[in-house]
């Protein structure tokens, strides 16, 4: 096998690969709090980040963990934390604060079931709407979902890129199966997005720094760190471009609109949907996270039976990759959306894109969706 000379295979979990991806992306600050199934990210970052002259610390709760990260981001650090549903519930206000203050931060959300007491080691893909629609103001939180340890690496580099470029919180939505399962990972085959850093303010022509300055609504303000030579006015209150607390001025309303526009405007650029096409496909099997792997297996088996199936692994769940999803559905009669939650969360937000087509959900809770379940839904 020719791979022998060129491969660098190690056994890694998805959680470990999120840490690897973060290090590659230039993450400098990590704060963690223990929670199954996300603790592997915390452990890996504690092991590796200080060696690279970064800060990896333990927080006394999830609110602190994210607030430490957002504070560090304000001082200019690329920052990340990792949690699961119960911890996310505590972090939400701080997520919104990062959004309002336009401070980049990456949150790895490794899904499971239940409150902290229950379901810690049961897989789930049932925090999709909970994660996306958690802000007052219904701002889009970019969400990327990996389905393998390899993809965890790549997706983490993508998450950092968009957090930095958009100056907004970005979520890596993993799940217990992807996060805690070990697999052979060939480090020489890893895909990535090169490290990005937010665009910084440099004083020109004696111009003073304005914390939230933009010309067009979709522009991203140039960054200056607190503690640097340019005065910064950070605030989570509704504010004008200078960061002055205001409620109803037209400039303040512009800032509120801008927070969404800057993300929306780059929607298609952020889209990552991996399609495995087949001529004359009648069914599109669409999935993400751990279930995307099962969907691929079901697709393979169905094709072996002579069925015409196209497969789409959606990596950028939000903003919804409308164009790519519509392209993926072109020509098919039926769309099967497989996800490990009872109510078809992702299906519910994308179905409007596919008018005139039959949409079928394959769902489960507490146990993995099997290839047979998906196969049964294929035309």
């Amino acid at each position: 096998m020719s791979a022998m000379n060129t491969s660098s295979i190690k056994i890694r979990t998805g959680n470990q690969m999120i840490a690897e991806g973060a290090l590659f992306a230039g993450c400098q600050f990590f704060a963690g709090y223990p929670i199954t199934p996300a603790s592997g990210v915390y452990k890996s970052m504690i092991e590796q980040l200080p060696q690279r002259n970064g800060v990896a610390i333990s927080a006394p709760d999830e609110i602190s963990a994210l607030a430490y990260c957002v504070g560090a981001s304000g001082r200019g650090a690329k920052a990340m934390t990792a949690t699961s549903g119960p911890g996310w519930a505590l972090m939400i206000e701080t997520v919104q604060y990062a959004l309002m203050t336009e401070l980049p931060v990456v949150i790895a959300m490794v899904q499971r079931l239940g409150p902290s007491t229950g379901g810690a080691t049961q897989n789930g893909q049932a925090d999709i709407l909970f994660t996306e629609f958690c802000t007052s103001g219904a701002y889009t939180i970019p969400i990327f979902a990996p389905s393998t340890p390899q993809e965890c690496f790549e997706v983490t580099t993508i998450a950092f890129k968009w957090a930095e470029l958009l100056r907004t919180p970005v979520v890596i939505l993993s799940d217990k199966e992807v996060g805690m399962m070990s697999e052979d990972v060939d480090f020489n085959q890893l895909k990535n997005t090169p490290p990005w850093y937010r665009k910084e303010f440099t004083p020109q022509n004696g111009r003073q720094h304005i914390t939230y300055d933009f010309t067009d609504l979709e522009d991203v303000p140039l960054f200056a760190p607190v503690g640097g030579p340019n005065k910064v006015t950070m605030t989570g209150s509704a504010h004008d471009k200078k960061g002055t607390l205001q409620k109803n001025s037209s400039e303040t309303l512009d800032v509120l609109i801008h927070l969404q526009k800057k993300i929306e405007a780059r929607k298609e650029e952020m889209a990552v949907v991996r399609v495995d096409d087949q001529n004359d496909a009648e069914t599109l099997v669409l999935s993400f996270g751990i279930t995307a792997r099962t969907a691929k297996e079901a697709t393979r088996r169905a094709r072996a039976e002579g069925k015409k199936v196209r497969n789409a692994n959606v990596i950028s769940l939000f903003p919804i990759p409308e164009k790519k999803l519509k392209e993926a559905a072109a020509g098919v009669k039926r769309i099967v959306v497989a996800e490990e939650n009872m109510t078809g969360q992702y299906r519910s937000v994308i179905q409007a894109l596919f008018s005139g087509k039959e949409i079928v959900g394959v769902n489960s809770i507490g146990k993995m969706i099997t290839p047979a379940m998906i196969q049964n839904a294929i035309l």
Binding site: P50, C69, R75, G227, T233, T235, G236, T294, M368
Partner: protein, 443 residues
């Protein structure tokens, strides 16, 4: 960091204070400004991190320092992040000052506690006016006994928390208490800011809007609340977190073992083999499947592994599922196992409860410890004296290695290499186990 140019104020010129007439916050802001002027700090090296409530909006009164207006109660946590990134990543000395009220300190108590424990170089100026002013005068956990507010109309019946004692017990190295009207307060604040490490000043104030109408409270009664013992440092000065972290943690070289696996062996396996190992915690079940997975990869196969155990990780059952394949593994679950090895009663209980046994087909190879009670299973069941021959702790791996010797899923050489590498001289026991088990494994 002191600056060459003498600063006369850090406030905005003609700043209009947004507070009610007679509010203690006026004194607070002026004393803070006084302290900054006294220290003559470079405004770019000062960051005021404010909480919410009436006091939180003081950020708008300051012109030159950086300001960070945060969420309710969380200001200390944001400040901690700023300070660590500043001191450790930027090797700089930003003065991070937390402006928080008694409400914020109540909901965000843990952030204060942890900042004190860490001895992070942050200065907390706590404006304690015994109530939530901005939201309508509700009492807080800092309200004195018998204090009357809209939410304690009969008078407060719960004693107030003593924040100075709390942070002292957490090792805070600088704790002071003063009235907002105290002429010396500017000096106290300056001392707190200059202090290397966590510092807290509890500033007692009057909220004329909500405290005065219902309570007999004035400057004199506030002064009576000041406790002399609160102005003594409990803990000896110790290194702050940033200094300690740089000294003990940062850049510390940790031996990273190179765990790259070279696919130097081969296997005749065509397709996927899905194996379940079930036994007892502490009996190396998950290690067995890990070594098997490693040898599969070494045999140029793909492999996945996942483990399960009860909430208390060191007791009860231990379960491991390993899939090996000549192809990329897509589905990582095991519907119909190809192999099930059960080495203990706990393992049998679990594979019964989770449905593994019920999902076996007539092709499934089931190897079970001889002494286990009877169980229903469609697979080809062989009962072996695993525990008698190999003891519990080698049972799973020895059974799997014996089976593999016959079936050749992974290269047996690879597997023995992994066993030898892991167990060193004790690996002989495994070699002996395998020899002893082979005659029993008739598949």
């Amino acid at each position: 960091m002191e600056t060459a140019v003498q600063q006369h104020t850090y406030k905005k010129e003609n700043a209009l204070f947004p507070f009610c007439k007679g509010c203690g916050h006026h004194h607070y802001v002026n004393h803070l400004d006084e302290a900054l002027v006294k220290l003559n700090l470079d405004p770019n090296k000062v960051c005021i991190v404010s909480d919410i409530g009436c006091i939180g909006i003081l950020d708008s009164l300051f012109a030159t320092p950086h300001t960070f207006h945060t969420t309710h109660g969380r200001s200390t946590a944001f400040a901690t992040g700023i300070e660590l990134a500043d001191g450790i990543l930027n090797d700089s000395k930003l003065k991070t000052i937390v402006v928080i009220g008694d409400g914020g300190a109540t909901i965000g108590l843990l952030h204060l506690v942890n900042a004190a424990l860490m001895n992070v170089d942050v200065t907390v100026l706590l404006a304690n006016n015994f109530l939530y002013g901005m939201t309508g005068g509700q009492h807080s956990q800092f309200s004195p006994l018998e204090f009357v507010t809209p939410t304690t109309p009969a008078g407060n019946i719960v004693p107030p928390m003593d924040i100075c004692s709390i942070v002292k017990s957490c090792g805070a190295t600088f704790v002071r208490q003063a009235a907002a009207t105290d002429k010396q307060l500017g000096d106290v604040i300056a001392e707190a800011i200059a202090h290397p490490g966590f510092a807290l000043v509890e500033i007692l104030e009057l909220c004329p809007e909500w405290a005065l109408p219902f309570n007999k409270i004035d400057g004199k009664s506030i002064n009576e609340k000041l406790h002399a013992e609160n102005n003594m440092n409990a803990a000896a000065v110790r290194q702050d977190f940033t200094t300690l972290y740089k000294e003990k943690v940062l850049g510390s070289p940790k031996k990273m073992v190179d765990d790259t696996i070279t696919p130097k062996y081969s296997s005749a396996l065509n397709g996927t083999c899905r194996i379940v190992l079930a036994g007892t915690a502490g009996e190396k079940v998950q290690l067995a499947s890990f070594l098997f997975m490693k040898s599969a990869i070494s045999s140029t196969l793909h492999a996945t592994q996942k483990n399960d155990n009860p909430v208390t990780q060191g007791s009860g059952f231990s379960l491991s599922e390993v899939c090996i394949s000549s192809e990329e593994i897509l589905y990582t679950g095991i519907d119909t196992p190809d192999v099930v090895i059960i080495s203990s009663p706990e393992g049998l209980k679990e594979v019964t409860a989770n449905g593994t046994l019920a999902r076996c087909s007539s092709d499934t190879i089931v190897v079970a410890e001889q002494t286990l009670s009877e169980f229903d299973c469609a697979g080809k069941v062989s009962r072996l004296p695993l525990r008698a021959l190999c003891t519990g702790s080698r049972a799973a791996l020895s059974a799997l290695a014996s089976l593999n010797m016959i079936k050749g899923w992974v290269s047996q050489d690879a597997l023995l290499e992994m066993i030898d590498g892991k167990f060193k001289e004790k690996s002989l026991l495994y070699h002996r186990d395998i020899e002893a088990l082979i005659p029993f494994v008739k598949i």
